[in-house]
């Protein structure tokens, strides 16, 4: 079960809305709660539009201009005297700048999104170090070479003076990771860090992330659509669908005994390296709805094989309580209630 070390970040009931040109607000996140704990990897998995990237961007206060946090809290160091609510800080203020990169690092899917073409790798990494805690130019350069070594870049003394476009995709992502680690954050958000990479490079980058996360006891939030990456990397898993966490559990439970019908269906639809030839995959009917056409009630009900008419299509099930394993689903609630009743009867 989830360890009881104090989380470094606690997201509570987070709601985010985007205003659309010529349309009403679109709800992208609905009551999302998550905990990031030191030394643990939280895997966040879901299909496109489920809100996994919006969650990350809200935590760093880098939502697009038409997006706004409508409700909830993002607590840094919750339960300590230093507790800070990120949602209450000015997005462009100094405190937020310190947190961004200094406390919470971000690794992007496409490292070129984080790197400038105009500056050398060394320049950009030195800037990231010096912005947060300037040790002077010479020391910063030493630190950059150390960082490049840490992320497994061969010949760091020469690579420090190359430009990002001179590097391969795998090396670029290593620089992206170095950039995220430059100011020594204790929380790291990796948003699809290996999606743009080939499978052998992906294996190398995941191994690197794992090693750094363990060595530095980082709280890693790993966002991906790939159930394989989740299985290999995560300690705990949050499955998201249309802006909600529909299931949260330790990784072995999610794969061994998934509770939410969406998690179950998602796992069945993953192609299998051991499948018999020409075997069909289990599918989920329909497609993920557009965010502006959010279904009433449980957002998954139009695609759910276990949909209960009159219930799932009218009311949304309660969100998963923070820090506990569970699924946001009436069917799961009912099953739990029956189990509890049985227990009471046995006791009586």
């Amino acid at each position: 079960m989830v360890e009881n070390s104090l989380p470094l970040v606690s997201v509570r009931n987070l709601a985010v809305e985007f205003t659309q040109h010529g349309g009403g607000p679109v709800r992208a996140l609905d009551s999302v709660s998550l905990d990031l704990r030191p030394g643990r990897v939280l895997g966040v998995v879901g299909e496109s539009g489920c809100g996994k990237s919006v969650t990350a961007r809200a935590m760093l206060r880098i939502l697009d201009r038409n997006g706004a946090i409508k409700n909830g809290q993002i607590l840094l160091d919750p339960g300590t005297p230093q507790q800070t609510d990120i949602t209450a800080l000015p997005g462009e203020g100094n405190r937020m700048r310190e947190i961004r990169g200094g406390r919470i690092g971000l690794i992007f899917q496409e490292p070129m999104a984080a790197l400038s073409m105009q500056y050398t790798v060394g320049n950009q990494l030195m800037e990231a170090i010096r912005v947060h805690n300037d040790p002077g130019k010479a020391v910063a350069r030493e630190r950059v070479i150390k960082l490049l070594t840490d992320v497994g870049i061969p010949r760091p003394e020469t690579r420090i003076d190359t430009y990002p476009f001179q590097l391969s995709g795998g090396l670029r992502q290593r620089v992206g990771i170095a950039l995220a680690l430059a100011a020594d954050p204790d929380v790291l958000i990796a948003d699809e860090p290996t999606t743009a990479l080939d499978v052998t490079t992906q294996a190398q980058i995941l191994a690197l992330l794992r090693r750094l996360q363990v060595d530095k006891q980082i709280a890693l939030m790993l966002i991906t659509h790939d159930m394989g990456v989740i299985a290999q990397m995560a300690d705990d898993v949050a499955v998201m669908y249309l802006g909600r966490v529909v299931e949260f559990a330790p990784v072995n439970e999610v794969f061994g005994a998934p509770k939410h019908p969406y998690t179950q269906a998602l796992l069945r639809s993953v192609p299998n390296l051991r499948a018999p030839p020409h075997s069909r995959l289990a599918t989920i009917g329909g497609a993920v709805p557009q965010p502006n056409a959010r279904p009433s009630g449980c957002p998954f009900h139009p695609r759910c094989p276990d949909m209960m008419p009159g219930r799932c299509d009218t009311t949304a099930p309660a969100p998963v309580p923070p820090g506990q394993a569970g699924a946001s689903c009436f069917k799961v609630e009912d099953a739990a209630r029956v189990a509890a009743d049985v227990k009471v009867e046995v006791r009586a």
Binding site: G228, A231, M233, V270, P271, P277, L281, T283, V288
Partner: protein, 332 residues
């Protein structure tokens, strides 16, 4: 009966430099590629980016002119034509027989054309009469699982998976003898990807399609293909029936590729050992076997002598000097 016989297919891109734009080198995108696809068979071409799989696909479609080699194709039972030397004019009557399914369902459909017109376009170009076109469009929509009402709507009204169905309907419009599918499901969400894989499997069975399936995802390939050809830096390094390739890979690169796939099972962690280093530069491949700098089984011979693709038993072909002596791990 073979629908397609590719032999010695080679595609080089010149690297020009200087004010005279003199050729200073060549990117060897595809080098001496050989394979066949028989009637009703799906051959998967797999490899990492830059390995030349898309170059091979584009040569077969004759969107590219190969540098050398032959692409023999059967336009009618008992006939064989080499597509490689043909001119544009000579290719025109043959193009209807080889159709492409694109990767990106957002970029490959004209946003200003109605779905019915998109699917009817190949029919129109080939002079099919209006009434017959209409009948065929309805038939195709039904075949790929779209409602008849889709005919008069525009692509933007459809999700990624539905758009890919439209692209598949267009590719099938002229009853092609060969389908080239270039990463047809890699842009889709997992749940939608499964729907499209199932559709492709249904179509293979119903229509007996011969398919070249270009992909990087070994999980997807396992479900759809009869045989698999693995490419590395422009060359095929292994070809085998799908089940045999996964169970007993005979080339170290195939093994590396399979072990690198993250398995969707948390109880099977850390079994994967990522191959060291990076894919070689096709403009400057290492001498000998291109995989030798990354290969855990490398011996001196691998650094000097290039292994040829040869029969290593049980219908498997591998280009590795040590194929007979190595026992490589598959995935069951």
């Amino acid at each position: 009966m073979n629908m397609l016989e590719v032999s010695g297919l080679t595609k080089h891109y010149p690297i020009n430099a200087g004010i005279l734009r003199r050729e200073v080198g060549r990117v060897r995108a595809a080098e001496d590629v050989n394979f066949t696809i028989s009637k009703g068979e799906t051959l998967a071409l797999v490899g990492e980016s830059g390995c030349g799989k898309t170059t091979v696909a584009r040569c077969i479609l004759r969107a590219l002119k190969p540098t050398s080699g032959a692409i023999r194709f059967s336009p009618a039972d008992g006939e064989m034509v080499d597509l490689a030397p043909l001119s544009k004019r000579q290719l025109r009557p043959l193009r209807r027989h080889i159709q492409l399914i694109f990767q990106d369902p957002y970029a490959s459909l004209n946003p200003r054309m109605m779905v019915g017109d998109i699917i009817a376009e190949p029919l129109l170009v080939n002079g099919v009469a209006s009434a017959e076109r209409h009948r065929r469009v309805m038939e195709l929509l039904d075949l790929v699982g779209l409602p008849a009402a889709a005919r008069t709507r525009f692509p933007h009204a459809f999700s990624g998976g539905q758009r890919q169905r439209i692209g598949i309907a267009r590719a099938l419009a002229l009853n092609p003898r060969v389908i080239v599918a270039d990463e047809p499901v890699s842009a889709l969400d997992v749940s939608v990807q499964a729907q499209i894989i199932n559709l492709l499997l249904d179509l293979q069975e119903q229509l007996g399609l011969s398919t070249l399936f270009v992909a990087h995802d070994l999980g997807v390939v396992r479900h759809v293909s009869d045989r698999v050809a693995v490419m590395y830096v422009g060359r095929i390094v292994e070809v085998a029936p799908t089940v045999a390739l996964y169970a007993t890979p005979r080339h170290p690169y195939t093994q590396a590729l399979m072990s690198a796939v993250p398995k969707a099972d948390p109880l099977m962690r850390d079994a994967a050992a990522a191959p060291i280093g990076e894919v070689a530069d096709p403009a400057n491949p290492p001498p000998g076997c291109a995989f030798n700098p990354r290969c855990p089984f490398v011996v001196d011979r691998c650094r000097t002598e290039r292994p040829v693709l040869r029969d290593v038993g049980a219908g498997q072909l591998a280009a590795c000097h040590r194929a007979e002596e190595l026992t490589l791990a598959g995935v069951g």
